[in-house]
Each structure stands twice: as structure tokens, then as C-alpha cells.
């Protein structure tokens, strides 16, 4: 497939096209189909947000906020509600300015998540991005469980042109991390990216293994800034909350990478997680090429979600 260079917004819009079609056609008919703001009206909004995987709780919160504002500002027109709704979600999804500090200093980025969400791909893409910014990157291939995971990552490392430290299948992942830290130090790398094996968050022994990896990084590389990204599949439903919650118990999560956002999934779970756990989405994956990992922009994201066409700026 010939993928032209698109700006972030264009890419996101392309990825979110289907998203918008479903969510927005619903929204538009709501905002135009009702003549007054009543319970039925709110119920319809609720349905649409739930269809977007925002989840029951986040949806209820959003509606409550919306109701309060409508009352406060004495809004009578359903159409005026739209901007309010968009604004409140935007506000909620805003990423702090300091969110990407790890790109600026000596840092270790630990990438974790359940099976099949796209951790290895994310590490590969991230390596490419950092490398193109002129950083010296080392990758640790600590997924020693899945067959050929190391080979997969090596392919990405080669594409990005960075060095990878790996181990045999079945090797202790913590020892791979240990070796990678030594390598990163001796090569004076700016960023050490650690890929890990996919693990379901309810598997105790695998989560213990993650704790061990975490401890080793703290102990052996204490001078490095810590960034811990949990990768969530954008097509995942409410279970993503449980994932974020339980990975958060074994490692201090500093951000979320939301992958597979180029399909028809609405990725609304990001709003739910932000709302319930206050973990910001930092990156969004919208395709399979190395350029398809983008910084998350709340404005663009919500605009694209609700098909707001003004202030379209490429990045």
C-alpha cells in the first residue's frame, strides 16, 4: 500500500473516518432530531457514547457534567449542547505539557500490556521516532516467551537503525533487561526502550515478573528518567480499564499508547480510563508503518471523533 505522508490530523482523520461516521451520524441526528433538551435526549446521547466504548461510568459522568452546565448556562437548544459535550471531553483528555519529558533526557521506557495489543510494534515505531530526533536508542527485547518475538523486534530495530539487546527464548526477561541497561550505559544511549512479553493482567506470576523487571531498572539505572507505557488495544472494550488498573498496581504507569485506531473501533475507552484512573493517553497507533505512531492530541482526537472541521492544522 502506498502511504503518502500525511500530517497527524490527516492520518488521524483517515484512521477515524469510520469512527466518525458511526459516532457522528448518530450525534448529528440527535442534535437535530430533538427540539428540546429532555430525558429522552440525554438517553440518546448516553447510548451513543456507550456505543463508542466509553463505558457506562464515564458516560454517566459526562452526561452529569453536561446536565450541570446546561442548567448553569440556561441552554435551551439541543444544538448548543454539542459544543458543550465536545468541550467537556476535550478538557478531560488534555495531555500535560510535561508528558513527553522522557524524550528530552536520559530515560528508560518500559512498555507493557496484554497479549496482542501491539507492544513490539509500538517499541519499534517509538525507536524510529526517537532515532529520527537524533537520539541514541537501545532496545531491550525482554519478551523471551512468545515464539519469534525477538526476531520480530530485531526486524523493527533494523528498520529503525538502532541496537537491540536480546536473550534466548525462555531466558529470564529480567536478565535481558539487566544486560540491556549495561549496554545502554556503556554505549551512552539517550533512551532505553524495553519491550516485554504480553501478559494478561490477572496472571499473578507474570505480574510478579514485571515487578522484578521494574525493580531491576530502578536499582541498576536509577539515574534515568522513568517512563512506563501501558499499551492498550483501541478495539478493546471495558476490560481495558481492568488492564490499566492492574498494570498500574505493579508499575507506576505514566501513560497509555492506544493502538489499532485505524479501524472502526471508537477508542472511547481512552476517555473512560482518563476519567477513572487519570492516566493520560500519550500516543496513538493508526497504522502499521513506522510513522504511524503519533502523539496524542486531545483537540484533534475529539474534533475527529465529533467531526468538527474548523481549525484543521497539519502537524
Amino acid at each position: 500500500m502506498s502511504e503518502e505522508k500525511k500530517g497527524f490530523f490527516g492520518r488521524l482523520v483517515a484512521g477515524l473516518t469510520k469512527t466518525r461516521e458511526t459516532i457522528v451520524s448518530g450525534i448529528d441526528s440527535i442534535f437535530s432530531g430533538f427540539s428540546s433538551i429532555d430525558e429522552d435526549f440525554y438517553e440518546e446521547i448516553e447510548e451513543i457514547l456507550i456505543m463508542g466504548d466509553l463505558g457506562v461510568n464515564a458516560t454517566e459522568q459526562i452526561i452529569e457534567t453536561l446536565k450541570a452546565k446546561v442548567k448553569e448556562k440556561k441552554i435551551k437548544e439541543p444544538s448548543d449542547c454539542k459544543q458543550l459535550l465536545i468541550d467537556s471531553i476535550k478538557e478531560q483528555m488534555q495531555v500535560e505539557e510535561a508528558a513527553y519529558r522522557f524524550e528530552e533526557e536520559l530515560s528508560v521506557v518500559l512498555v507493557i500490556g496484554v497479549n496482542g495489543v501491539g507492544k513490539t510494534t509500538t517499541v519499534g515505531k517509538l525507536a524510529g521516532k526517537l532515532k529520527s530526533q537524533g537520539k541514541k536508542v537501545v532496545i531491550a527485547a525482554a519478551d523471551t516467551f512468545r515464539a519469534a518475538a525477538g526476531e520480530q523486534l530485531l526486524e523493527w530495530a533494523n528498520r529503525a537503525g538502532v541496537e537491540m539487546i536480546g536473550g534466548q527464548e525462555g531466558a529470564d526477561p529480567a536478565s535481558v533487561i539487566y544486560d540491556a541497561i549495561s549496554a545502554a550505559k556503556s554505549r551512552k544511549a539517550d533512551v532505553l526502550l524495553c519491550d516485554t512479553a504480553g501478559r494478561l493482567h490477572n496472571k499473578k506470576n507474570l505480574m510478579e515478573e514485571l515487578k522484578k523487571i521494574n525493580r531491576i531498572i530502578d536499582k541498576e539505572f536509577s539515574q534515568a528518567y522513568r517512563e512506563t507505557l501501558v499499551v492498550l488495544d483501541g478495539t478493546t472494550g471495558q476490560n481495558a480499564l481492568s488492564q490499566a488498573r492492574q498494570f498500574g498496581e505493579v508499575a507506576d504507569l505514566t501513560g497509555i499508547v492506544l493502538t489499532k485506531m485505524d479501524g472502526t473501533a471508537k477508542g472511547g475507552i481512552a476517555v473512560a480510563i482518563q476519567s477513572e484512573l487519570s492516566i493520560p493517553v500519550k500516543y496513538i497507533g493508526v497504522g502499521e508503518t513506522i510513522d504511524d505512531l503519533q502523539k496524542f492530541d486531545a483537540n484533534d482526537y475529539v474534533n475527529a471523533l465529533f467531526d468538527v472541521k474548523e481549525d484543521r492544522e497539519g502537524a
Partner: protein, 449 residues
């Protein structure tokens, strides 16, 4: 945890629905509102939920509440039955050609659903059944996908047919089928690359494989954690290439797996297997009834109700309840309640049916050990005179010694049992409400949920 939340919620609603003989519209709507939320939290697609709730509502309103159930349980019973019906009522196997005829199976799905792992797992299963499977490595896109399949195939002792990553997947599939025919393989499983259902080119590739190789079974692999989007995925795969069956992966996580219901509703195709772990042996048969209770999050509460209904003699239960309330519960009652418990399938079986406990593995409870303990308790009680059983306060040290000798246990064990018994009696006095008898119909022995 998700499981507990739902059960608690439903129970709270159903508390308000007790002591009525027939399901009124109001009752049903109140109950179904919670069921609806529960299903949405379980990621069942909104439209599927809406349709489902409508069906149940029509069926439930005006129904007589079955003898022995409260209205809330009655609604759940109907909900459960409808879900099982929707899920396909029975287990289905992959249809294979007889003897040496070659069956061609094609795997399809989104990225990261678990196709490659599932492919190898299915091969291993078929090999166990005496088939001779061949795996075809047609994922030429994802780096190292072919290596992954090769390693997994090796672990299963199944050969992998590969032509590297420079060939067209259609040609590889053709080559594999030819290779199979020449070399006496009777099943070919084609592993394909993960793809988005809206990616026209990639979907066309699958259609081309199907067109140029005679594919007998197309299996869609879906991550059980998928959200509302599951309907779009299933719909497009069905529409563009046509599917014959579904494998749901990653069900060893804590997802409620509502996607199963959505996919089934959209495609009408059976769910064949569920992935229950990373080991290649962790591919299990799909049971619609188990999936229904998982999505609903009620454990196997209904099964428990049914079993309890069969097992517990009403009069006996009423007497027992009265005795418990007055703390007149004696060793005779202890014996008979133990007997009832056995009829219901033993301690672990009952715990497994409890909502919130069912999903968990319970290493703490060693079933054999627990049953053994119950046997010993039984033999101690049998060593008492009827008089002593009815009036435990008679038990002085010399009587206890005699009982210990009779049961072949140490006197300390008799002491422990008597002590536990006294404690249990005290507890029952404190919480008569737990037995629920007051509100249940005819003072029946209601279970505490």
C-alpha cells in the same frame, strides 16, 4: 472486580422484587434495566443488548414465577435461557472430511487476535484426534510471523509449509494444499496475516485464497476483550469472505466476553473453541451455557437454584430453618444438612457456582481434603448416641472419649467439632436473615443470594 459488581447490583435490584407471584411489567423493566447495564459493561454491543432486552421483556411479563424461585431469580432464569439460545445451545466441532480427503481450514482475524497461536493449537488438537495436519505460513507481512508459526508447529510436532515472505499468500496456500495431497496430510490450516476488516486490499487477499484454493472452513479468530466494535469486525468478515466458525481468544483473562454474544448475534456462526492460556494445549471446547453465565456475571447461580430445588426437601428445610432461628440446631440437623450439601455436588462444586467465586481458581480449597474432613465429621457424629446428637450439652469428657474411640479419631478432634458446632450455632442466631426464609415463598430454604 467486574464479576462481583454485577452480581451485587443484580441482587440489590432483585431484593426489591421478592414476594410477588407473577412478573409485572414494572418488575421486569426494573430488573432488565440492570441486566442491560450489566451486558453493556460486559461489552455486548448496544444494539444486540437492545434487541435482547426486548425479547426477554416480551417473554417475561406476566409469566408465573416458578415454584420456589423469587421474581428476580425468575427474570434471571429467562435471561439466561435466552442468552444460551442466542449463543447456540450446544457445542460444535470443526467439520472435517473423512479419511484421507484433505480438509482446508483458513484462519482470519484482526492483528493481535491470536491467529498464529490458535492455528498451532488447533493443529495439535487435530493431531491428537489422529489427523495429519499441515500448517501453511501465509502471513508474509508481520516480521517473524513465519518463524513464530514454525516454532509453534515444531512444539506440536506438526509440519509447517512455508515459501518465505516474498511470495504471494495465495500461491503459498496453493502450494501447501498441493504439498499436503502429495505427502499424505489430510488437514491444511492456513495461517493468514492480521488485517483490518475495512482494509479492502487485505480482505480481497483472503477472498482470493478462498477462491483459488478450496477452503472448507473459514475460522474467524476474535479477541474476547473486544468492545462494541466486535459487530463491525464480524459483520465485515462475514460479508467479504464468509466465515464458518469463530474462536474466542484470551478468555483466561478477566474479561466478561460480551463480544461472544455480539458476534454470534451478527454472524449466526458457532463459536468452536476458546483460548484459555498461552500454552499450546490451552484451547478448549466452547460451552454456550458457561459463556452465558460468564457474560451475565452470575456464576452458575441458576444451576445452583435448580440443584437446590431438587435436593432440598421442603419440610425438612422449613424445620431446619426454624431450628436455626431458635438456635436449636443440633447434630442431627448438622448431619442432614451435610447430606444435602453432598447431593448438590460437594463443597467445591457449590463454591464454583457462586457468583464471584466461579471465575477464580481456588488453590486454598483442596477438594479431596475438604471431603475427607466432612467424612471424619460424619463418623464422629455417627458415634454419638441419638440422645447426644439431639442434646449436645450432654457431651462431657468421658462421653467425648467414647465417641473418639468409636470414630477412630483423637479426642481433640471431637472437642474441636463440638466447639465449631457451638460457634456455628451462635452465628446462626445472630444472622437469621441470611437464610432468607421469611421473605421466600412458603418459608422455603432460600439460598443467600
Amino acid at each position: 472486580m467486574a464479576f462481583e459488581n454485577l452480581s451485587e447490583k443484580l441482587q440489590n435490584v432483585f431484593k426489591n422484587l421478592r414476594s410477588k407471584g407473577r412478573l409485572t411489567e414494572e418488575d421486569v423493566k426494573a430488573a432488565l434495566k440492570e441486566v442491560k447495564m450489566a451486558l453493556l459493561e460486559a461489552d455486548v454491543n448496544f444494539k444486540v443488548v437492545k434487541q435482547f432486552i426486548k425479547t426477554v421483556q416480551e417473554r417475561a411479563i406476566g409469566q408465573d414465577v416458578m415454584n420456589g424461585l423469587n421474581p428476580g431469580q425468575m427474570v434471571i432464569k429467562i435471561v439466561n435461557e435466552e442468552m444460551i439460545a442466542l449463543m447456540g445451545s450446544e457445542t460444535t466441532e470443526i467439520a472435517l472430511k473423512p479419511g484421507s480427503e484433505v480438509t482446508v481450514i483458513m484462519m482470519a482475524g484482526l492483528q493481535g487476535a491470536g491467529k498464529t497461536t490458535t492455528t498451532a493449537k488447533i493443529a495439535g488438537k487435530l493431531k491428537q484426534k489422529g489427523k495429519k495436519p499441515l500448517l501453511a505460513a501465509c502471513d508474509v507481512y508481520r516480521p517473524a510471523a513465519i518463524d513464530q508459526l514454525k516454532i509453534n508447529g515444531e512444539k506440536q510436532g506438526v509440519e509447517v509449509f512455508s515459501m518465505g515472505d516474498k511470495q504471494n499468500p495465495v500461491d503459498i496456500a496453493k502450494g501447501a494444499v498441493e504439498h499436503a495431497k502429495k505427502n499424505g496430510y489430510n488437514v491444511v490450516i492456513i495461517d493468514t496475516a492480521g488485517r483490518l476488516h475495512i482494509d479492502e486490499d487485505m480482505m480481497a487477499e483472503l477472498a482470493a485464497i478462498k477462491e483459488q484454493v478450496e477452503v472448507h472452513q473459514t475460522i474467524l479468530v476474535v479477541d474476547s476483550m473486544t468492545g462494541q466494535d466486535a459487530v463491525n469486525v464480524a459483520n465485515l468478515f462475514q460479508e467479504k469472505i464468509g466465515i464458518d466458525g469463530v474462536v474466542l481468544t484470551k478468555l483466561d483473562g478477566d474479561t466478561r466476553g460480551g463480544a461472544a454474544l455480539s458476534i454470534r448475534a451478527v454472524t449466526g456462526r458457532p463459536i468452536l473453541y476458546i483460548g484459555m492460556g498461552e500454552k499450546l494445549s490451552d484451547l478448549e471446547q466452547f460451552y454456550p451455557d458457561r459463556m452465558a453465565s460468564r457474560i451475565l456475571g452470575m456464576g452458575d447461580v441458576l444451576t445452583m437454584i435448580e440443584k437446590a430445588q431438587e435436593a432440598i426437601d421442603e419440610d425438612e428445610a422449613r424445620k431446619l430453618e426454624q431450628k436455626m432461628k431458635k438456635a436449636e440446631f443440633d447434630f442431627e440437623d448438622y448431619l442432614s444438612s451435610m447430606g444435602q450439601m453432598k447431593k448438590m455436588g460437594g463443597l467445591t462444586s457449590i463454591m464454583g457456582m457462586m457468583p464471584g467465586l466461579s471465575g477464580m481458581k481456588m488453590p486454598e480449597i483442596d477438594e479431596a481434603q475438604a471431603e475427607k474432613g466432612m467424612k471424619r465429621t460424619e463418623s464422629i457424629i455417627y458415634s454419638m448416641t441419638p440422645e447426644e446428637r439431639r442434646n449436645p450439652s450432654l457431651l462431657n469428657p468421658s462421653r467425648k472419649k467414647r465417641i473418639a474411640d468409636g470414630a477412630g479419631v483423637d479426642i481433640a478432634e471431637v472437642n474441636r467439632l463440638v466447639k465449631q458446632f457451638e460457634q456455628a450455632r451462635k452465628m446462626m442466631k445472630q444472622i437469621p436473615g441470611m437464610m432468607g426464609g421469611k421473605r421466600g415463598k412458603k418459608g422455603r430454604f432460600n439460598l443467600p443470594f
